[in-house]
Amino acid sequence: MGRIFKILSFFLLVVCFAFQPQGGYDTTTKIKAVFMYNFSKYIEWPGDYTSGNFIIGIYGKSPLYDELVTMSQRKKAGNQDFEIKKLNSVNEISKCHIIYMTPEKSSDLDNVIKQTKNYSTLIVSEKEGLAQKGTGVNFVIRENKQKFELNVSNIEKKKLKVSSNLEALAIIVK
């Protein structure tokens, strides 16, 4: 009745820290990109902006650029193709549907407003208080969550119309 049995071991199967956090960790960029896409859907631009490409300018260095480029390969703004532009200086700003300013470029807000005064451009910023200072949309964090402020008056000055669906999602500021 002798036991001649080789006992295997599953201890070897336990690979220490076998799993890794999901690649990269910039979840916030994707959320912002989805919001940006929805701005193109739920804001109405004047007639002369509804042909040609739907242009989104990214002012400053941001991973949002790459995310929006990826989005632009799959999605359209109505019948318009998306065109995502990198903007390195205020002087490069021309006719855009949307301009996103990185937090680092916030101090340039006045210049951006001046540069876009003749355009129906939605200015999107990402710094506390900027919606009150002239931008149409301002990304903010509330309770650790990505939210956005909407200044309807700033948007309407640009002859843009905001859908009530978008307003319902936003934090309205004046």
Binding site: M1, F5, L8, F10, L13, F19, Q22, K30, F35, K75
Partner: protein
């Protein structure tokens, strides 16, 4: 040779066998000694049902022993072997009835052998056999069943034994398997997630400072949330956007305490630092995220430098 040893062993225990006399137990044993194992099994099965013999530990011991022999002959490659299970049950009954400890040592030896086969089957069942590294549901289920029987035998033989380490390791392996399957199935099968959580929670219930269990627990919630965000459909109705943000935020919050604990237990581990940086980033706490990411980079650079040196 083995047969000869068996005959000698049996003869020592039951001299009546050699002389062809005795009761029905002896006759049943004689069948076994003559190599008529199936008939011997049938005879002991009958005896175990007979009112006169069913309280006899010798009947149950030999029933279990013969079932074990038949398992070896016929069902060795069967993970869910009915004969092995029957043998275990018979030997348990024998031990319960065996007040004089006549068969105790032999019953324990036989049970030890059976427990080894169960353990080895568990290992085989949870060793990935294909390139995907994924184990099928049936194998996982069978491994859990076999491990439970293995453990039960061990506890029966030695109730005072310490099996915590084995249980922990098993739960971690099974939990990680469910986790892998959950990830491979694009986080859709909630049952896999629940099973993984259950296994890691079992480990944490026994030892809340288990690093791997804490880390894996954090990762289940974190990875699911990241997956949900990365795969968020741009055309998802706008009204549902805040819902997904709330849902993913909750998952990040659930992941955080486990990752913090794993970090406190092993502050220099790169994976944990990366995980913490990721969770805080996703919770929009850039300051803390950068703090942990910096620590991660420092260790990473140090390791790279050491490799160069």
């Amino acid at each position: 040779m083995f047969r000869l040893v068996n005959i000698l062993f049996l003869s020592l225990l039951f001299p009546a066998i050699l002389f062809g006399q005795g009761n029905r137990v002896d006759l049943a044993l004689k069948l076994y000694q003559e190599g008529q194992v199936d008939k011997a099994k049938a005879a002991f099965d009958d005896l175990s049902q007979d009112n006169e013999y069913k309280g006899n530990p010798t009947v149950w011991f030999w029933k279990g022993y013969i079932e074990k022999e038949l398992y070896k002959q016929n069902e060795k490659d069967l993970y869910a072997s009915p004969l092995r299970l029957a043998s275990v049950k018979s030997l348990y009954t024998s031990m319960e009835l065996d007040i004089k400890n006549e068969h105790k040592t032999d019953a324990i030896n036989t049970l030890n052998y059976l427990s080894s086969t169960l353990y080895n089957d568990v290992v085989r069942l949870i060793t990935p056999s294909n390139s995907t590294g994924l184990i099928d549901d049936k194998s996982i289920e069978q491994s859990i069943e076999n491990f439970d029987i293995y453990l039960d035998i061990k506890k029966n033989i030695d109730p005072e034994g310490d099996y915590k380490a084995q249980i922990t390791q098993f739960n971690i392996v099974i939990g990680q398997n469910f986790m892998k399957k959950y990830e491979a199935g694009n986080y859709e099968n909630q049952d896999y997630m629940n099973q993984a959580i259950l296994r890691f929670q079992n480990v944490l219930d026994a030892d809340s400072n288990h690093v791997k269990a804490n880390y894996n627990m954090a990762l289940i919630y974190y990875n699911k949330s990241v997956y949900m965000i990365n795969n968020m459909d741009y055309d998802r109705p706008i009204e549902a956007l805040n819902e997904i943000i709330d849902e993913t935020n909750e998952l990040f919050k659930k992941a955080l305490p486990y990752m913090i604990r794993a970090y406190k237990l092993e502050p220099k581990r790169k994976e944990t630092l990366k995980g913490l940086a990721g969770i805080y980033w996703s919770l929009n706490d850039k300051e803390k995220s950068e703090l942990y990411f910096k620590q991660y980079q420092e260790i990473d650079n140090l390791e790279k430098q050491e490799e160069k040196d």
